[in-house]
Symmetry: C2
Subunit: 319 residues, 2 copies
Amino acid sequence: MTDLPKHVEIHEEGPREGFQIEPGPISTADKIRLIEALADTGLHHIQACSFVNPRIVPGWADAEAVIAGFKAKPGVHYTALWFNANGLNRALAFRDKLTITGSIALTASEAFTQKNLHRSHAENVEAMRKQTALHLENGVPVTRVGVMAAFGCNYQGDISPAQVVRTLEDGFAIAAETGARIEVISLADTMGWATPARIERVLSEVRSRWPDKQLSLHLHDTRGLAVANAHAGLRMGVTRYDSTVGGLGGCPFAGQKGAAGNICTEELVLLCEEMGISTGVDLDKLIEVGRMAEEIVGHVLPSELIHAGSLDAFRRLAA
Amino acid sequence: MTDLPKHVEIHEEGPREGFQIEPGPISTADKIRLIEALADTGLHHIQACSFVNPRIVPGWADAEAVIAGFKAKPGVHYTALWFNANGLNRALAFRDKLTITGSIALTASEAFTQKNLHRSHAENVEAMRKQTALHLENGVPVTRVGVMAAFGCNYQGDISPAQVVRTLEDGFAIAAETGARIEVISLADTMGWATPARIERVLSEVRSRWPDKQLSLHLHDTRGLAVANAHAGLRMGVTRYDSTVGGLGGCPFAGQKGAAGNICTEELVLLCEEMGISTGVDLDKLIEVGRMAEEIVGHVLPSELIHAGSLDAFRRLAA
């Protein structure tokens, strides 16, 4: 079953994923510089910060300063991440600048829910029900159901497609109870268990069950298969992808401290554009931003493409 | 058109590719250690050295000492690389230990032939005709036609499938004239221009023209697409792949000094095994060898998987 889309929506998460995990302090000015440069590449969705507890994530202690500081480009959706009422309130203070929508975020692995959130899946469902209601009370639409560890889990092993469907059903039940109108189903390969074959199996089941929802993939390159998995997603008609410029970010999970983070935005753009799938992104500009990100964090980033240069750059040389 | 093989043949080139490009001196003992460890993983084809001019490639000045020094494992084919009569003679001195076969190696890009070999394609065809005859005179079978830059070229830009077919026809003409019996067609993505779509297009044409030959892919991860390209190859029924443990090697070509080298053997093995395609390789052992390779060269290698660990290792933990 091949169902290549004509266009995909790329949600850039480099600033949020990257700066929360980098050990060195990154200046507010550098964060702003990166966000503004990303918007100039043609990306239309940029997750700009995380409104989290600064004692837990010191890298985002300056979230307000970053959001207040960057110059917003018309037509670009700037988003943020939060996990509780306090985070939501901090985000709402920037209602004029940020695109604020909520998610129902569940995990297909009970073991991961316990390790990551210190609660059971049932407790997490209850927490998400309350959080969804809170969003709606504040006039914030909740449009997405997300499932973490949808392709496997370091703590639980393989995850069946049926388990993913059950987890999504729990999410849709929350939406039905609270009145949230879900548009997007997001599946996250949180710990890098996806393979192209697994992507096909899981997406087949999910698409059959919810044919009218947009599908989104959040892929990690933990074991080097992220681009192959994105290609499998494209073939299955997935039109929305999260990614990070340069492969910013990393993997904080068990036994994988040195492992790679998210799929690189520029490699995803290369893959799409060379297949005739438009992204709206100027790849050569994006590669320059990847190099800027590398300079800002002060170490080599996982992206191969920012070190090699685009095909178009060589095509121009050869012409 | 999907035609997944049940088994693939992996040709490990880490020692040869890796030690010719590493700037630091690698001891003969370490080279031998790596070759012996690779053979213990279940790999059946290991390219162990390059018989090249030590003034040009000082990293392989000790080729004879390495080949004499390692303990050969029964059932494993150890191979070497050479480019001229002198190299062939050095290889023939190890006829009892090495599997010695010749290749007709051409390039789909005239510009790359000039840059890399300082001769025209026509001159290269003539050189290959002489070299093939020399092999056959020495009782060395010539079984492979290889095409470099088969998917694109930094100096010439895109390469059409028709150009690849023409180049292969030149190779088969040499074989017909000299009496070489070709079994394998090898296509190399020398400078990282391949994409899954391009792999499909080129392989379709080549397979239609020569349906009875085994196809082999030599992929580079220059722009991060190597695993996706291997997946496209598997779907097209390609049963033979070159790769390097840990992603040893690199890219010596224009403007890409920091770029990645070959596809990582362990990521290729993970991809195949998770799709039910057997490789004969013990992935956990191979990951240990990738870590050994990293220790030997003294810097981080491109493989993500050696830093993350296999899925099976986590499956055992979770069980």
